[in-house]
Amino acid sequence: MAEEIKKIMFTVRKPPHGSIYVYEGLEVKLIMAAYDADISVVFMDDGVYALKQGQDTKELGIKGFAATYGALMDYEIQKVYVDRHSMEIRGMTEDDLLIIGEDEETEEPVKPQVIDSQAIAAMMAEQHNILSF
């Protein structure tokens, strides 16, 4: 019998750049995406800042990860969600979010999906395991 595909969720709650968690957390997501698992990534609280477009870390002198986020879908990470409330209380709208890839058929740019906390809570309850970064 084929092994069931496990649902693994990543939650990103920390802001980028002030610490390494978001950056190293991204490395885990990219590796795990190569395995047989049903991966979703949820950005909530200060984690939503990691998805803000226009991040430029050149002057800071660190590599940054905006380019990788811009290609998340190429790394087979399709289920990317943003907590609506976290985004709104930070004065952000969907327009502020960076593009994570393009739709395979329409070639339209794809942004992370903005959803409500209730939907996220329901998704959390369905996971096999959750890793927080």
Partner: protein
């Protein structure tokens, strides 16, 4: 039940390492199988033999090493370790350096993954 644990913070600086250790000991006492322990971020500093805490304090690296001696797979992330100067030569016995694929396998295969960090 198969339980895996991931630890993100360095020793002494943060309570995460102590909480994780106490949790793992309790899980073993209750007869659970520890699928693996994975050190990530500054957590990689937990298992360097270079640490030398005062006599009257717990020796965190030796504590992990003793758990490893019982057969529990203790893995230090290679990418996080290299970044921080942690290499095979400085590790306590009974732990190993490996890739994020190990964390992936633990997360998929264990019934529960418990993360300790800041």
């Amino acid at each position: 039940m198969k339980i895996a644990v991931c630890i993100y913070e360095g020793p002494y600086n943060h309570e995460a390492s102590d909480s994780a250790y106490n949790f793992i000991k309790a899980a073993i006492d209750k007869g659970h199988e520890i699928q693996g322990i994975f050190f990530y971020h500054d957590g990689v500093y937990n298992v360097t033999k270079l640490m030398e805490p005062p006599q009257d304090d717990r020796h965190i690296a030796n504590r992990w090493s003793a758990l490893g001696a019982t057969g529990i797979d203790i893995v230090v992330c290679i990418a996080a370790a290299k970044r921080r100067g942690i290499v095979d030569d400085v590790l306590v016995p009974n732990v190993r350096i490996s890739g994020l694929g190990q964390l992936t396998m633990m997360t998929i295969q264990a019934d529960r993954m418990v993360v300790f960090g800041d």
